[in-house]
Amino acid sequence: MSTAHNKVLQAKDVRQLEGRKAMMALIRRDLRLAFRTPGQSLNPVAFYLMVASLFPLGIAPERETLSQLAGGIVWIGALLAVLLSLDSLFKGDNDDGSLDQLLLSPHPLPLLVLGKIIAHWLTTGVALIVMAPILALMLHLPEQAFPALMASLLLGTPLMSLAGGIGAALTVRVQRGGVLLTLLSLPLYIPVLIFGTGAVQSAVDGMGYSGHLLWLGAFLVMGLCLAPIAIAASLRIVVDG
């Protein structure tokens, strides 16, 4: 009997590629990793809180000043927190050899990468969104702007995970690549920041903000389509060297 030889044949005939399953398994794995090291995964959130509380101390605690700046502060805080968390997006997998296994998987790499990004968003982006209204309250953001803030963050944080993933992939083998990662990601974040804070500011001024959200949504769709491909290509290139 030759089971392994049969395996060769099976490889083509029987075993249907189940990429979605692999992606879900990867998401589950990364979520488990995050939940089992809560100290590490809460770092960006703590950072977020600290950055946002520095602004009143550094500028002015007056209600009028802060309420004008609140949207921008919450957004910049979220942006910096995402940047901070990106450094470890692929580093852990690179350090223990899992990245090689990811690249050698028969499943489409962009799909697996998308799984990693989704897990990253679920562990950081969602936490930032949950924290945002608390910070907005502390910074006296006018009430009518809360829905705009939440909606813009809901669209903006996954976009930042996607776009930042490119920089994270390109710098995964770079020693102390944190600053470089920031430099590569910031230009990609500027449109997100503009439309995100724009939405909040419009709401503060009592104007419509659906236009901003639509643009953010359009960017998100574009990011979902292009970023996983760019990240997958970057990973293959960087691991090759």
Binding site: T3, H5, K21, L26, R36, D95, D96, D100
Partner: protein, 225 residues
């Protein structure tokens, strides 16, 4: 199945090996020997498809590897220097995600059985962070023993395991080869236990070669990365 023709590889302005040609068919084990720094790991990473920085050709099932990646990856198990085991997860969980990346879903029973084989019975629910480096490698080897991949590419799998583990791994390799599987392995271990089908490639025989490229033809490879 796997054929390598005129492989040549340079790293850091040094030719690691050149004119390397070899063939691997079903039921064969290819042992790659060479001094440290002779490019064994590089060769395995090239063969596994992790590195494309080489000259020459690789064929899989008589077709160019680059056109066969999907099928090739479905058929390959790569065991590298780093065991790809997550410290936060238990051995069972680690085997699960590794298998799912290879498009496999082993049963609970087979996983536990494999862990027992590598002497990790009783550690099924312990996070791997509490285990030693050698035990990490054993988790990966347990995964190897239940994988359905016909082609195994193993980089020094015998390091950091005890005498019992060595004997077990040899028997696993022998069984795999006997049932028509293929193995490419780098190791200083003498694999005499595996009868017949062991072939050796001494990488040092292919070492060196001139670095000076002299291409005058405009369409020569010198114009390309």
């Amino acid at each position: 199945m796997l054929e390598v023709a005129q492989l040549r590889c340079e790293r850091d302005d040094r030719v690691l090996f050149s004119e390397l040609s070899m063939k691997l068919s079903s039921g064969e084990l290819l042992q790659i020997e060479g001094a440290n720094g002779s490019g064994k790991t590089t060769l395995l990473r090239i063969l596994a498809g992790l590195s494309g920085d080489f000259h020459g050709n690789i064929f899989w099932k008589e077709k160019k590897l680059s056109s066969m990646y999907a099928d090739f990856r479905l058929s390959t198990f790569y065991f590298g220097h780093k065991p790809a085991v997550k410290g936060e997860l238990t051995p069972v969980e680690n085997i699960r995600w590794r298998a799912s990346l290879r498009n496999e879903a082993p049963s609970e029973h087979s996983i536990l059985d494999a862990l027992e084989q590598v002497n990790l019975a009783g550690f099924e629910d312990v996070a791997c962070g509490h285990l030693s480096a050698g035990q990490h490698r054993r988790v990966a080897l347990a995964d190897l023993s239940i994988s359905a991949s016909p082609l195994w590419i193993l980089d020094e799998p015998f390091t950091a395991i005890d005498v019992y583990g060595v004997a077990w791994l040899e028997s696993v390799l022998a069984k795999h080869v006997a049932s028509g599987g293929m193995v490419i392995i780098t190791s200083h271990q003498s694999l005499s236990e595996i009868s017949g089908s062991v072939r050796k490639v001494k990488l040092d025989d292919f070492a060196g070669g001139s670095l000076e490229e002299d291409y005058d033809d405009e369409m020569d490879s010198g114009a390309f990365l």
